[in-house]
Amino acid sequence: MSSIGTGYDLAASTFSPDGRIFQVEYAQKAVDNAGTMIAIRGKNGVVVVADKLISSKLYTDNANPRMFNVNDNVGVAVAGNYPDGFALKNYAYGEAMKWLKDYREPMPIQNIANSVAEYIHIHTLGISRPFGAGAFFMSWNKQTGGRLFLVEPSGLNYEYKAWAVGKHRQAAKAEIEKLKIEELDVNQLVKEAARIIMVVRDENKDKNVQIEMGWVGEQTNGKYEEVPSEVVTAAEEWAIAKLDEDDMDD
């Protein structure tokens, strides 16, 4: 690839001679270099987990959360540049409010993801810089089951069974593929997700990290919620025991 120094990579409004938009690719780097985030759809719900760097004990508990409610039923988890992700979450929230005003019912997840994707896409046309953040959207209800979308800095929006973004996404995806996720209950998913986040960590570099989790499913009655801290702790303990066990086997 020829990008640096050619002058074709200084604005999102410029194509390179081989038809690429480098500014969008660079924005994607902001997501690729950020902490790992995994989302998995299981038998009866969707779980999302993120690895967060907590560089000082001066931060309050769960400072800078990456997961939010868009409305009661839909959760969003943002990866990449934090302020950009926060702005995306805010946009999604605003859209959901407008929908509620116009239709007097909560905005469906597909519409939320589409509308955020459109907003992100406008920022790839060159008027301003692209967003350096991506967003998972997740929901669950009896009729449709679990749903999981990822919107990327390019404006792409796909539905997934499971996906990983961030630093160790490749290793994480390989780990997810080993599981039969369709058969896993949300409580098992939480444990496996914690295990995967921990196993893909780089022991030398990833210090002072903390796990944040969100879920939506049958057990939350279709409401998206932050996973209670005691459940997260239990999942971490289970994961550590499991990892030790695997080490023994090796």
Binding site: N69, M97, R104
Partner: protein
């Protein structure tokens, strides 16, 4: 302004509810509304509530136009979501303040919301500390005129009941128990029933209590004593 630019607005409410009666007791508020929707003076629909649970701390009851209130309900729902985003449950004081501004602004545009609202609830001074919670009743008229009270009767009830409720209130004041407060409401409804032709004998009593939160009422019915009808000269 040309004739075709003139804005046409609803000048009359259509489907309406009548009085709301509310009263504070020791640890909360009780609210009574009947369950009929009037179309003019016809009792058009039965079994319709005029109370809306906002969250665990706030209950709103209304008189006036049902359609306008349905619109307001959506406005309120969005306010609840807005506050949730900041980890807060909107309290009765804040909601009363907000609706006051809203109704006043609308009436200044000559497009009033045709409702009299009673915002009932308990105001939490501190989170997770019920000791500091206080009962709250706030009233807003369709003109945006707003005030806070210990007890209220709106609609035709305002002409008939305020003195009666006040008398009961003065006997015990802040120490009124929930049962006593509800008895006052039931007695008051009976009075409106005799005098207000659009009042109904099927009603509900909702409450907001510091410890229990919002409890929506069940459908109740009274007959009253109609022996006085014999002495009414207007009857044939």
């Amino acid at each position: 302004m040309n004739a075709h630019d003139e804005v046409q607005r609803t000048l009359n409410p259509t489907c309406t509810g009548t009085s709301v009666i509310a009263l504070q007791y020791k640890t909360g508020v009780v609210v009574l509304t009947d369950r009929v929707v009037s179309y003019g003076k016809m009792a058009r629909y039965k079994n319709v509530s005029r109370q809306y649970k906002v969250n665990d701390n706030v209950l709103i009851a209304f008189g006036g136009d049902h359609a306008d209130f349905h619109w307001l309900q959506n406005v309120i729902e969005r306010q609840v979501l807005l506050w949730k985003r900041f980890d807060q449950d909107i309290g009765p004081k804040a909601l009363h303040g907000y609706l006051t501004s809203l109704l006043y602004a609308k009436r200044c545009k000559m497009n009033p919301v045709w409702n009299t609202l009673v915002v009932a609830g308990v105001e939490e001074e501190e989170k997770n500390n019920k000791e500091t919670s206080t009962p709250f009743i706030g009233v807003i008229t369709q003109k945006g005129c707003a005030y806070q009270v210990k007890h209220i009767a709106t609609g035709l009830g305002a002409f008939l009941l305020n003195q009666a409720v006040e008398d009961e209130w003065r006997k015990k004041g802040e120490d009124l128990s929930r049962e006593e407060a509800e008895a006052v409401l039931r007695k008051s409804l009976e009075l409106t029933l005799y005098h207000d032709c659009v009042a109904d004998n099927e009603f509900e009593i909702g409450r907001v209590d510091a410890t229990e939160g919002v409890v929506l009422g069940k459908e109740e019915k009274i007959i009253g004593d109609w022996s006085i009808a014999e002495t009414n000269c207007q009857y044939e």
